[in-house]
Symmetry: C2
Subunit: 302 residues, 2 copies
């Protein structure tokens, strides 16, 4: 019924459903076939120790944290989560084509929720000095904001080849640490997720702490706040957070198993090449390149 | 109250509210000041003859059409709107981080809504042979998908300097013509708007017919469809379209006056430069460039 009007989506699943016109023998495998044929070693299980579940009435948001890029913020976040700081707080901001933000709307006020033993401010972790200790897979594609881009530990990232400095990129779904004007004023008590076109000018200006693996659709479809910068101006507009837990805090049977494609292998190289130059009959002109924020790393589960 | 946690947004209005630290005398004007000082000739009134109002129960979506890029599709759209084809149809698709799509869910079926005197299919209008007759303002910023990018008649666009070919870019809010596998199978009876990271691989593969000027927040916050490719699988999930009208069809007093910044002037150059290298005290590291999809052309009204 929808055939006439559906056009091919970015997702692997969809490409799989659109048989490539066989113009050669044998036909080139499509991304879904490539992924299905990938050995188990090309995938990694997402570590429950660095996976957050944020439960809203609309469903669960799953965030993978990037401790290599924000170790101190991750430590503080652990304290906050284990002391149940986020439970019964709420989504306080939804600005169209920018960010969704959550935490305590009263933060900084006299009636703010106590942050327990967590720290109220931390030195910025905007970038790392080098990619040492990180699984860094550069891609050759041109980027507006950086000399080099690629995937770092499974997160879209950018690097300065001259200095070696590397940082996580503000792509759709990136989770960052809100702060005030001073670079060292963030702590993790308020976090945000990018809900639109990548605001890459925030790169190296904000501590990026991870990315949403599951449930970005929930966050992105929240009604936009009508206050300044998309903050909800009235309490009733905010979406309550039932609880935030590390996956590792839940009994194993209650965890959601997730696997993400590793980037240091031929499978990643092949599906990335098919993002650059799609073999699907739908496409007349190949893009010839792919934005690091359009890689959408393949995932299983969730 | 929100000071501690609010971080600077992209919008001119927000930048205006954040006083730049005066490090020189006199302090450089901020974007809001530049825009306020711009002569009237740097703005253009959006032409009611190429402005569509799509009324949903959640509010009005205003689309500016780009006849220079899709003249035949615009003609067909005129016929469809004037014969009230879209009235009482609905939003039929909302795929996270891709597109929202509207039209007749039964299109192509026996029980499809008749399209009157409109055409059911048109030759593709994916690009123009040259920028002749278009207000083309290239920007020097690097782009992943094209050798040159800029604004064409006020729409984000890309150009091949070797051939002169020019096309509209699939940025957030871009409105395109849905089609089937064949390039010449679209007509405008189903349209889509980009609701996430720019799917620039669609450039030169789809007819882009305009962009959403007002109400993208409404479209982007629609619940995601649970069917394949984000189509709504049940009738009750679809958002009804009350009516679609050209602004020129309404009495003048009922039109919404909108002005968009022209791009062939110093005001545009200045605010674009402040997108590349923000002077706001919030930013530690200047981006040094701006993605054509992050230009967000300043607008008044709406």
């Amino acid at each position: 019924m929808i055939k006439r009007v559906a056009f091919a989506a970015v997702s692997i699943a969809v490409l799989a459903g659109t048989a490539a016109l066989a113009q050669q023998q044998p036909p080139a495998p499509n991304p879904a076939q490539i992924l299905a044929a990938a050995p188990k070693s090309h995938w990694r299980t997402v570590d429950p120790e660095r996976t957050l579940y944020m439960d809203l009435d609309r469903g669960r948001v799953i965030i993978e944290l990037a401790p290599a890029f924000a170790p101190n913020h991750m430590e503080n976040l652990k304290t906050l989560v284990k002391e149940r700081y986020f439970d019964e707080l709420s989504i306080i901001r939804s600005q169209d084509n920018y960010v969704v933000q959550w935490g305590d709307p009263q933060e900084g006020e006299n009636d703010a929720k106590p942050i327990g033993t967590a720290k109220a401010a931390l030195p910025a972790e905007f970038s790392r000095k080098s990619a040492d200790g990180v699984v860094w897979t550069p891609i050759p594609d041109r980027d507006t904001y950086a000399e080099q881009v690629g995937m770092a530990d499974g997160f879209p990232a950018a690097r300065d080849p001259k200095t070696g400095e590397i940082w996580l990129a503000h792509c759709y779904g990136a989770v960052g640490v809100a702060r005030s004007t001073g670079a060292d004023t963030g702590s993790g008590v308020q976090l945000y997720a990018v809900n639109g076109q990548a605001p890459r000018h925030l790169d190296r200006n904000m501590t990026v702490i991870g990315r949403v693996l599951v449930g970005m659709d929930i966050l992105a479809s929240l009604p936009r706040g009508t206050g300044a910068m998309g903050f909800y101006s009235m309490e009733g507009q905010r979406t309550p957070i039932a609880r935030v837990r590390f996956a590792s805090e839940l009994p194993e049977a209650q965890r959601i198993p997730l696997e993400v494609l590793r980037t240091d292998n031929e499978t990643f190289a092949q599906v990335t090449e098919l993002r650059r130059n799609r073999k699907d009959a739908f496409f007349q002109v190949p893009a010839g390149g792919v934005d690091v924020c359009n890689l959408n790393l393949p995932m299983k589960g969730g």
